[in-house]
């Protein structure tokens, strides 16, 4: 399985990743690093603890990481969450709606994650 095929399977934008990271090897190196990135887990923790400030920072961070890795869908989900919890702006969504978004992001992330794990193993 090539890294491009991985990207196709996880709905990533390989061209975007290539534009930023330029080489397949580098993309491969960094996409694996997503597994170590703490943004997702800290986001989930923040949500569990209702720590919205932390939630914003985690979502923002995840958005940046995903953009750099050429994962626009995941970046988009993270971006929506970060906008919702941006300090100094009023909340627009109900907790239920936020929960739905978190779940959507979670599903996408975990799916992506499992595929990357499979990819990195062989």
């Amino acid at each position: 399985m090539t890294v491009q095929e991985l990207y196709d399977s996880i709905g990533g934008d390989f061209q975007a990743a290539k534009k930023i990271l330029q080489m397949d090897k580098i993309i491969e190196r960094f996409i694996k690093k997503l597994l170590e990135d703490p943004s997702y887990s800290s986001l989930m923790d923040a949500w569990k603890n209702q720590n919205y400030k932390e939630l914003f920072i985690s979502a923002h961070s995840l958005k940046g990481v995903c953009f750099n890795l050429g994962l626009p869908k995941l970046a988009g989900e993270a971006s929506e969450l970060s906008e919702e919890f941006r300090p100094g702006t009023p909340r627009k969504l109900t907790d239920e709606e936020v929960a739905a978004k978190i779940n959507a992001l979670s599903d996408l992330y975990l799916d992506t994650r499992s595929k990357i794990e499979a990819f990195s193993k062989g």
Binding site: F30, E36, N68, S79
Partner: protein, 887 residues
Amino acid sequence: MKKQARLIIYGFIFIVVLTVSVFSSLLVYMNHESLEDIRQISQTYLDGVANAEINNFNSISEIRHNQVTALRDILFSTDDWKDVNDSILHTAIFHDLVNVSLVSDQGEYLNIYGDPLIAVGNPELLFARMMEGSSIVMTGQNHSEQLITWTEPLDLELSDGTHVIGIISCRDIDQFIQKMNLESKETLAYFLLIRRDGSYVVQTQETECDTYFEKLLHYTVPIGSTSEEQVERLKAAIAANESWRTDLTYINNDRGIHERRSVLAAPLPSSNWYLVSILPFGQLDTAIENMFAVRMRATFTALLIVTLGILLVFLLYLRNSERQRKALETANINIAHAKDDADTARIEAEKARVEAEEANKAKSDFLSNMSHDIRTPMNAIVGMTALAVEHIDDKERVQDCLRKITLSGKHLLGLINDILDMSKIESGKMTLNPEVISLRQTMETMCDIIRPQIKANKQNFDIFISNILSEHVYCDSVRLNQVLLNFLSNALKFTPEGGKIFVDLRQEESPAGEAYVRTHLSISDTGMGMSPEFKEKLFHAFEREDNRRVHKTQGTGLGLTITKYIIDAMGGTIDVDTAPGVGTTFHVTLDLERVSMDGENMQLPDWRILIVDDNEELCRCTELSLTELGARPDWTLSGKDAVARVTAAEEAGDPYFIVLIDYKLDETNGIDTAKQIRTAVGNDLPIKLISAYDWMDIEGEAKAAGINGFIPKPLFKSTLYYELRKYMSDGSELSDEDKGPDSNTADISGMHILLAEDNELNAEIATMFLEENGATVDHAEDGLQALEKFENNPEGTYDAILMDLRMPNMNGLEASEAIRSLKRLDAVRIPIIAMTADAFAEDAQKCLEAGMNTHLAKPIDIEQLKRTLVKWVYQENVGIEKRRQQK
């Protein structure tokens, strides 16, 4: 309106006339009533006076009657005539009588005492009265005087047989006149005594004619009738033995009297007389007249006040109605205006609707064009990608595909950037971020950017700088570059091979004030030009000239709209001079705020410098700049002349210190001229090439021809200074590397960069890029750590800081502020470049406010990052060359 005013004036006149009439009538009526009252009063008074006079007469008559009765009684008291005679004598003397006589039945007067009586006023009446047995008063006459007689009837037979029928006592009439007050001047009224035939009983001052009747005829004018009628009436009254009264005006011009009088004639009992009582109005008249005058004055004063009051009311009413009229007119005008406004608004709305429809249509067209434009590079990308996948093992093929994909990608990015810009403009979100910029750097950067394309298109390019009053100005450098590049990329696109592209920058004093400098920027080309029709629509959004031509040249058609918007936002103007097939000149005029730089005092030694350029203006401008720098420049337009001048100067013992030659001369090029100079004077004289072209392309040829170096256009004063000062220390040029890297190549090798990024992955990506390009990176995990690292390392450790904005503990903005406020030299000078995923202009503004130099959007574009680093590190940090050398 006039009709109304006339109506009001007529109404006013009517009311005034009515008032005057009413008042006058009232006055006349009052006067009449007053006269009537006065008449009645005077009549009453006159009645009173007359009655008093009559009573007076009666009492006199009573006394006289008693006296005569006493005399008569004497006659009957005794038969002794002597005694009778004595008694009568005694009584007559006692009563102061003038005469006492008896009346016989024959009408004779028998004298008893005193002067004999000659005649009586009316003997027939006397006789008749005696016969009927009643007494009577009348006048009489003796030899010497007029008398008044009192006669009583009596029946006595005298001894001689004479039948006596009456006894008369006569008195002096004066006494009677006095007692009757007939001549008194002291009473208000006076009296006349007349007989029934009108004759006067007593003649006084008032008895002017023989009879009273005559006097009435001659001297009086009765009120309401004629004198004749009056006399007749009086006669009738006398005949009937009745009183008679009248009011008349007595006129006697001889006596100077003209007065109203009230007259009452009443019969006097026991006589044949009438008492005429006269009351002259005289003083009364005067009093009445005074009263009338007072009343008249009062009335007219009242009239005047009432009239004035009415006038005032009318005036007030007029004014009020005039006001109302005006208010009405104003209201009408307002209504008319409102109507006009409404019409205008309706028309405007209609216009706006049409415009909106047009804009909508333009947007639809634009969208379809854009779809096409976006699809084209997308197709290329998709197609090339597929091709590359197919030939994945053919390295060259894949490389070619990737190159084409890159190009298409870049084009696509450009399109999207334009659309984003446009949407920012349309939503009003585009803001300017003015900063201190150097026009020299701006122009140099621009030349660097377009030089490769000029070369590729085989076009001629030159840039002219003249009369620069302030090299440093406040301006949004990003937007200014966008403007310049937009014009230039248009020129590049539409100018054919061998065509010319010129940039001209000049300044003059600004009408906006001393703090400003008017900056003219012209970009000319000899390209295809534009039709006048298109020129009109040039700056409209979503318009492109002639679709057929657009197939060759690609773009969004938004460039000029964006440019126009930016220039408008900067308060500048754009003029376009164009003709199809001839070319286009865009002329931008901006009033930019000056920035006075306390930079070093730019001064060169008084070197003799020769400028060789076929453009006279450039020669003159350069000459001026060099003269200002303290050098002694000469210039020439031709290469041959240049050689001659250099030789002559050498021979004259005042050789040139340096020669500046333009790369392109008319008859020959600069390199040939340099060769000739070298042949003529040897290798000692430094020769520098001036050019707007890329030094790399001509470097080999130039160096072979003995040219020592290169001064890139544009030739700002500072450019010349920085290039020439290298010869100041020891006369020999420093190494070329000292210039600093060309920003086009964007070499960041040797830079030591502090990277503040909390996300490990992102940090790793950035670190990888920077290290791959020869920089060294120190990573800080948040703002606080970045601050500590900066603070704990000696000055000059880092060349730049890349700062993420969103970080725990201390965010990028706070960290930047903290670093800037540190008390050390590099705290204010080190470039801090923000990296953020929030790519809004407001964020950029916040970054600048926090003391950061600029900001980059995530995901990181490595080329852009490199360019930005080079720009800020070399702009800010002049000492970098030395550190790089040390490293």
